[in-house]
């Protein structure tokens, strides 16, 4: 089936070439980072994780959201999703690949990455994250590919694949839970030290992931000669609506606990995030955009007539994705470090090379999505 990714229209070729160019630019700057060290990024002693780890965190959510297709179809026999479960699984494959790449480019000594396996450390959450992420990647490659191959041959999928698909459901929950535990298990960082971190991660994941899937389905309908079906898209839209509402509710619950209890160590972080602290306002401005976009998108999604209008739905989905990307892909990681344990405020601004590398990894993921979706559409259109 792989050969199907090689043939396509002129537009497809240009798009893939464009992504390849971005990957190449990112790779060039990664080589410079290898040479100079991570000092080429905006990270510092105080803010020691930045854009890379934030993208990783956000993308784990996108990967986990495949379960929102797999679960209704395989456990509840919701037929409308039958056509697109593979799209969810392929999206998960691309997202996990990006996650692993982001963790890799964030390593100070990537040449020693294999130490993670040579010296397994069951007390480290990061060790478990590596395990669950690679397991999830494998599960989705195997199940997505096998089901598509059976489709191509016009036979039902082999019996052994069903247990793997069912296993991928709790596994999806586990990847985002373990990723949340990376943060919520640290004693000294008040911003992350909250039991609602994992539920919040899952809620925002089930909003941002399906929102991206809706956008991809709409793109496929326009450019890819593939129609996911109105029922599937509208059901996804409802999932996004509920998940977004839950996500906003969780954030509000967090805000209440922190600002009503008024414990300074917890308050400072959220003040920095939403209002700015001692004249440091950059992140707060981004968060204002995030909050406004989330509320606007929620309004659009809640009104049935707006949700059923394809253009407005697309707009709402872009809003959901953007809002949650700012929240998790920018705010969440950096704010945990500000103020520092010494109560100093160090601003973090990604550098040019860091941004280029980040875009390069995203382009790599988008290319994977493009190639996998191309294969999918070609197989489906042959039937």
């Amino acid at each position: 089936m792989l050969e199907k990714a090689l043939r396509g229209s002129r537009g497809y070729g240009i798009w893939v070439a464009f992504l390849l160019l971005l990957v190449a630019v990112g790779f060039f700057f990664y080589l410079r980072q290898l040479d100079y060290g991570l000092g080429i990024t905006g990270m510092s002693r105080d803010v020691s994780w930045g854009l890379y780890i934030a993208q990783f965190t956000f993308l784990v959510g996108i990967a986990a959201s495949a379960v929102m297709l797999v679960l209704p179809y395989y456990l509840h026999d919701f037929k409308a999703f039958g056509k697109i479960t593979i799209l969810g699984e392929f999206l998960a494959v691309s997202a996990v690949t990006m996650c692993i790449t982001f963790v890799f480019v964030d390593l100070g000594r990537p040449d020693r990455a294999v130490n993670l396996l040579l010296y397994p450390s069951p007390r480290s959450v990061l060790f478990w994250d590596v395990i669950v992420l690679s397991g999830y990647l494998l599960l989705n490659i195997v199940t997505g590919w096998t089901v598509l191959e059976s489709d191509k041959k016009g036979v039902p999928p082999p019996a052994w694949v069903k247990p793997l698909i069912v296993l991928s459901i709790p596994w999806a929950v586990s990847i985002h839970t373990v990723t949340a535990f990376i943060y919520s298990g640290l004693p000294g960082r008040g911003f992350w030290l909250t039991a609602i971190m994992a539920p919040r991660f899952l809620a925002s994941a089930f909003a941002s992931g399906p929102a991206l899937l809706i956008l991809l389905c709409l793109i496929l309908r326009r450019f890819g000669r593939f129609d996911a079906g109105d029922k599937a898209i509208q059901t996804l839209a409802k999932i996004v609506t509920y998940a977004l509402a839950t996500s906003i509710f969780f954030v509000l619950a967090e805000l209440f606990t922190v600002f009503y209890s008024q414990i300074p160590g917890h308050m400072h972080h959220l003040t920095y995030l939403f209002a700015g602290l001692n004249g440091h306002h950059t992140i707060a401005r981004w968060m204002a955009v995030s909050a406004a976009t989330a509320v606007a998108a929620l309004v659009l999604l809640i009104i049935p007539r707006a949700r059923k209008n394809e253009s407005l739905l697309a707009l709402a989905c872009v809003g959901v994705f953007l809002s949650l990307w700012i929240e998790k892909g920018l705010g969440l990681v950096v704010t945990g470090f500000v103020p520092s344990p010494m109560e100093t405020i160090t601003d973090y601004t990604p550098t040019g090379p860091e941004t280029a590398i980040t875009i390069g990894v995203w382009a790599l993921g988008l290319m994977l999505i493009t190639l996998l979706y191309k294969i999918f559409v070609s197989v489906r259109n042959e039937e």
Binding site: Y36, G37, L38, G39, I40, M43, S44, R45, D46, S48, W49, V103, D106, L107, G108, R109, P110, R112, A113, N115, L116, L118, Y119, S121, R123, S124, V125, L126, F127, V130, I182, Y183, G185, L186, P187, G188, R189, P264, G265, G336, F337, S340, P341, M342, E343, T344, T346
Partner: protein
């Protein structure tokens, strides 16, 4: 297979002790603390017995510090080849001097006298009894020894910086770039680091193995720093801890810091 660095150090340590013992059966213990100029050069690497303890600890008495004195930092950073980047972004330090309000925010209030608020408070790795950095390290590159010292294996660290996020004290530094050009004078007796690994105070374990007290403790002419076994009632730290109220940084987190402050 070649021995790992950790095994090698262990063997080297035992050999040094083994060599020293037959020749110096009755060496006075207090000589161990004698400051010798360039005590790290091989020539004066006195064959002293290694200093041992059940639980190493340090006491800090900032009231004894002279204003603007940075001897402890200078001695530590020279001993351990800590680079000086002269900018906060790349900054690496093992000890630094901070204000009381930053070290003990919970104890700070507007009525503290200036004699307290102006004090320079040396901060370093607390060598926690229950260290979060060790818990989170995915490769066991940072680990706790039997005598309580929290160590780094610079040859195993992958530079993921999970430990930096986990440390509630900001005690850890990352080598964001090659540190070697920024080490003023390289001490050949201690390894330099490569770019991409995390480092921190090691309670001068390399000196303890040679029977010498930590560099900062020796460098402090005002005796504001004391070092010893907190399980030994006759140790320097116990003599101080046993008679007054001592504070530890963020004790509510349950990390069990072993650097005690007397203010």
């Amino acid at each position: 297979m070649a021995p790992t660095r950790r095994e090698f150090l262990k063997i080297a340590g035992f050999s040094a002790v083994g060599l020293a013992l037959p020749f110096l059966p009755s060496l006075a213990f207090d000589q161990a603390g004698t400051p010798t100029a360039g005590s790290s050069s091989p020539a004066v690497q006195g064959p002293l017995p290694a200093l041992k303890a059940k639980r190493w600890a340090m006491t800090v008495e900032p009231r004894k510090c002279r204003p603007d004195c940075t001897d402890c930092i200078a001695a530590c950073h020279l001993e351990h080849n800590v680079p000086d980047f002269r900018n906060p972004k790349d900054d690496i330090h093992w000890i630094s001097l901070e204000k009381v309000e930053h070290v003990f925010p919970a104890e700070t209030h507007p009525r503290l006298p200036e004699s307290i608020t102006k004090l320079p408070v040396p901060v370093l790795c607390n060598h926690c009894e229950n260290p979060p950095c060790v818990r989170v390290c995915p490769t066991q590159a940072t680990f706790k020894r039997a005598d309580g010292i929290v160590m780094m294996d610079y040859h195993r660290c992958i530079g993921c910086r999970f430990c930096m996020a986990a440390c509630p004290y900001g005690s850890r530094s990352m080598n964001w770039r090659d540190p070697r050009p920024f080490v003023r004078k390289i001490n050949p007796a201690f390894p330099t680091r490569t770019k991409g690994v995390v480092e921190k105070c090691n309670f001068c374990e390399e000196r303890l193995a040679r029977g010498i007290l930590p560099a900062c403790v020796i460098a402090c002419k005002d005796k504001a720093l004391a070092f010893g076994d907190q399980e030994d009632p006759r140790s320097d730290v116990r003599l101080i801890l046993d008679k007054c109220l001592s504070l530890r940084r963020r004790p509510e987190l349950g990390t069990g810091p072993r650097v005690y402050y007397i203010l």
